[in-house]
Symmetry: D2
Subunit: 397 residues, 4 copies
Amino acid sequence: MSLRVIVSLAVAVMLAVSTGAAGATEPAAHKPRARDLGVPFDGTPGPLNAITDIDGVLVGHTTLIAGDGKLVVGQGPIRTGVTAVLPRGSASMQRFSFAGWYSQNGNGEMTGTTWVEESGFLESPVLITNTHSVGVVRDAVIAWRVAHGPPDATDSWWSLPVVAETWDGWLNDINGFHVKPEHVFHALDSAHGGPVEEGAVGGGTGMICNGFKGGIGTSSRRLSDKDGGYTVGVLVQCNYGVRRNLLIAGIPVGREIESEDPYAFVPADLAERGSIIVVVATNAPLLPHQLKRIARRVSLGLGRTGSIAGNGSGDIFIAFSTANAAASDLGHVVDLRMLPNDSMDPLFAATVQATEEAIVNAMVAATDMTGIDGHHVRALPHDELRAVLAKYQRLVR
Amino acid sequence: MSLRVIVSLAVAVMLAVSTGAAGATEPAAHKPRARDLGVPFDGTPGPLNAITDIDGVLVGHTTLIAGDGKLVVGQGPIRTGVTAVLPRGSASMQRFSFAGWYSQNGNGEMTGTTWVEESGFLESPVLITNTHSVGVVRDAVIAWRVAHGPPDATDSWWSLPVVAETWDGWLNDINGFHVKPEHVFHALDSAHGGPVEEGAVGGGTGMICNGFKGGIGTSSRRLSDKDGGYTVGVLVQCNYGVRRNLLIAGIPVGREIESEDPYAFVPADLAERGSIIVVVATNAPLLPHQLKRIARRVSLGLGRTGSIAGNGSGDIFIAFSTANAAASDLGHVVDLRMLPNDSMDPLFAATVQATEEAIVNAMVAATDMTGIDGHHVRALPHDELRAVLAKYQRLVR
Amino acid sequence: MSLRVIVSLAVAVMLAVSTGAAGATEPAAHKPRARDLGVPFDGTPGPLNAITDIDGVLVGHTTLIAGDGKLVVGQGPIRTGVTAVLPRGSASMQRFSFAGWYSQNGNGEMTGTTWVEESGFLESPVLITNTHSVGVVRDAVIAWRVAHGPPDATDSWWSLPVVAETWDGWLNDINGFHVKPEHVFHALDSAHGGPVEEGAVGGGTGMICNGFKGGIGTSSRRLSDKDGGYTVGVLVQCNYGVRRNLLIAGIPVGREIESEDPYAFVPADLAERGSIIVVVATNAPLLPHQLKRIARRVSLGLGRTGSIAGNGSGDIFIAFSTANAAASDLGHVVDLRMLPNDSMDPLFAATVQATEEAIVNAMVAATDMTGIDGHHVRALPHDELRAVLAKYQRLVR
Amino acid sequence: MSLRVIVSLAVAVMLAVSTGAAGATEPAAHKPRARDLGVPFDGTPGPLNAITDIDGVLVGHTTLIAGDGKLVVGQGPIRTGVTAVLPRGSASMQRFSFAGWYSQNGNGEMTGTTWVEESGFLESPVLITNTHSVGVVRDAVIAWRVAHGPPDATDSWWSLPVVAETWDGWLNDINGFHVKPEHVFHALDSAHGGPVEEGAVGGGTGMICNGFKGGIGTSSRRLSDKDGGYTVGVLVQCNYGVRRNLLIAGIPVGREIESEDPYAFVPADLAERGSIIVVVATNAPLLPHQLKRIARRVSLGLGRTGSIAGNGSGDIFIAFSTANAAASDLGHVVDLRMLPNDSMDPLFAATVQATEEAIVNAMVAATDMTGIDGHHVRALPHDELRAVLAKYQRLVR
């Protein structure tokens, strides 16, 4: 398989995905999500139970699946991709968003965070891909901005994009560097509102989570009107954890279904090489330091799933607010709005809850996958999950 | 009640506690702890299931309980105290310990952390008291060191003690400033190994946790020999959370027993003013940056109990290692040992597990308390807890 | 000298200082400051060239000087004190200020910073004292607030005061704990606008800086109208450094006057035990993360004086903004104003410049002092300073 | 000029540079450095006065200069490059180095820092390039490691390279993305000990510093035997600052030669878009948290040159130690050595001093350059610098 062929395949897949994404609004409704299976969660989701419940937030995927069999570095098999989250739709390039980030365990990369921390702004979309493709994705975001941006091409303000990763080398030819700039452009150009495709798509294509097939998941919470009526949305690319630690709805699901083990391929230490990238969006008017507080609550949601944030895991989170659309205006003092710290508890709870649900959604949406060298990873079996929950009186009927 | 009388009372109480502490080895064995009730936890505890399973770690309490009825600021009622954790027994003043800290939510105080972060060393015992007595405790630690220390009284290296707090103003006359230097000296002088008294003792005397009576709790984990055989011990002063969020063993215990509500006194917003201070000790040879990693895992244990780290909560954690006893030697390059990062996962798991258990231990050990203005806080009822766990098939028999 | 006598003396001194503070407005005008001597500085100061150029900022000192001769711990000699900076005058207890902090070298204490970092607010005055009196000052600030505050004495929001320190044990009986609550009350109650008394006053009484007598210094910069017309004020309690590193106006002043050494008393290692606390105030509408940026610029000002931020130095800085007076309102979304990041450079320059000048002002204002055991520290000699600057063509005439 | 031609040109330049690098040992000796001109600096440099005075540290450059005249994005003119710093020579891929980092102003990128902070290790060379080429350089480092590494190509431990940048868009076609993987390989493969080429080379090719031509500079300090005899080496890619703030040896050199202004091309705001990346190496046995302390001292050196760390500047520093070569061994507890904190002051002073000198060296080594659209930047004129220093009695003869 020549590089040319790979690219063709990739483009083919990409187009297929593109179509899929365009039509995702409907099929997604038919695919059961975690709460459809009866998994109990706290709090009230937004209409889509997705990060796209925050007005203006768009999500796009490029999914790259090609080849089978033995790994030939540079040729495949390919099981990877790119996911893009745009904070403000088509205005994402002109109006920046207040943001904060946190690393629960820094065995990973999220570029651009030094400027997020310093400036308080997220000045780019958030891209997620595999570990060894962060660089190509980062520069491609700049190229995309140059192509779409204002005429002054020397302008440097788009220069520090936020690009994160998790490692898919158990299923994907990660050292083949199969993500190309056009895949980044596609994820950005095809980003859309509405339902978000979950599971083994986009950057999540080749991921493994808690010993089962992982990938992209999302969820949201809508606060009561009394609490301001704000929405919090979470999107995860989940690739972390080992099965023995997995909790769902507080139940040790990972241990309950351990007896039948289809994952003999995955050495224990490789399993811990995973990571989780979490993107939190809200329309609540929060300042940068408050968004850092939100990002830190992701850890509490992870705790509920049994995570220990293993040494090999890059558990890195970013939170942004779509409020204060004029915050990045230059040349004059800007007017802002801020939610008092004392009113943040419902947002904290929402973040914890939506993180937990997004992770389970990612696992529920994923399906079995075979990658390089015949490595096979089974998806979380829906019926077994339901049986375990029922055993513990935790199944919602 | 004059100040003089209060002090007398306090000393009386102090002496009583002192006796209690001395004899604590035995009675503690008769008081059921969480796992005695059948609460399931992961991992293997050390012999005492306490922070004192780490050799050299001593714990001392001064418990101040005096007066009843209406609050008269400066007179009482008094429901407060001081807890001291000594990292290296009698050598704590000569040999410092590598340490790291983390604030999950910084609505609290832990003095001395700026130097812990900079130097990598914990150079004092860790003291815990009420919010408004941090100052008197801090200076008293210095006075105690001056009294016990080497002859050069101008030496400044003992000057930045670590003193933390949680707020007990719902039960205690916190603005009466009833903690005095002698109470600090007592906690330090009476610190001992062996079983640790839990519940409404020491700094935890007047605390409320997840809507029930809180206080001091502890737990430990011993790693397998394969993983190095190290021990991790946790001590908490727990005062955080609201009942509706409480999870025990993954079960929404807080909601299950909400129907019978004896806590009408506690306004929702006051309930969120709580906090949790967590001290993690280990004998694993970890460097300062690795101990910070340990401190960050406490959040994952908190997540398992349903915490959202509310805005009003000071959730501040410190971790230290008793290994590398010569690390603080001056005047020459010192020899150290370090556990590789890749071997830390069992320690991470132990921290998460022991944090969860220490919190439940604190709640299980506490008993009902009535404080200022007749404010009454009920302890977690053991039988109801067991009934809820049984309902969800989570009771260990 | 009994404790009772000490207290009497202290009160006597306090009253004397109180009188001095009341009349400080005038004499301060006659005492030469650094630029009066011809030291060149960049930028344009405000009318007072003091932190009090920011409207609402008040400064109060309690200076404790008593006894002479041999050190008897607990009796003296006493050379210490307390300095208070109130951000918003009489409204400091009702309206909090956005703030950020930074530790260039954390061998020191600044309580309350964990909450400053989390909340973005400075919720108390900033107090500065000696290292071993931080605790008494901290609790006294709470007591003062309880005495002055609203009727709800259980309110906990005043519980985490910001109190910092530097070490005066070369001149002062630091382990005698001579700072008492009433000294804190006096510093707070006597805080005033207008000229700020500099040199060996307040918390700076017993300090040593760059091998000369140190203490309190202040300076300010007013931005051009084009740059917004904002003011930046700096107050330092300076106690850091060794003479050989001292630069003034870029000239190695410390080395130039080293030949005549009156400081044989000060061992090299003690000289490095100093520290510097820096308080930066501005009326520019900056958010918490922007104020952290301001705090980090203090290091650049220190760099200009030759500091290496020695291991024994606690170089801790806090910056706050008096703009956005309604930022801490509760119960509703608040309106704020923010200066864009791109407009901050003049504020950065002002911070660097005012820090440098405040340090030199502290040294210029100090006079010779003899403390415990006859330890004598000479002040920076004005004539020699001028001679050195003239030699290097740096004297402004 | 087609892309193909550009690449050819680039390779041609690269080879030329390669040759230059090979022969750099000699010509570098003839090119005057700052102290050759009589600029006074504190401290004692190592034999090379370069970061390569630390045994094992290698530096390689790829310099890309091609084309002239009007900017055609994608074609040129090209004025950019890549600089590589290898911590441990040929063992850099097998043995990691303890490291710490700090961002004085985060308007820049340094990938890999999240893992440096978490793990305490620098696990890759440090690469420096232009802002828009960070991605390609990052992925190329991985590819280079895969090509050179052990057979297990799925190994993920090389996945988070450290790549930093400063912005050269005033002279270079930065949006043309002219840096290619082969340029990265060349910088890595040609890295060498001995004298380091300074000025407009490697990543520093198109840089501007304090209003003059900037680029790469280096310096070192060797501690006295009494202080351990350790060496500290600094390498900067300097691109920050405005001329009016420039201090050299404490003298306002930038203002003194402002009258003759050949920089009318450079708008004030663009001048502030610069940055400075600083790499500090030492053979002192420092732990990660101590190396962070070293990194923070770079700010004090910057302060001495008049920097205000402007909003547009990415002032990001990384420090590593070549001691403890076995620190990254896996599978067993490792033995380490640590210099006590109390012995670090000479290293702090060395870092401040070498940073200051490396910056001046970069400016002294640079020569005039004309880039895109005829933008011309003059180098710091040696004779005028000497004249100004002489005027202020600061010229060393």
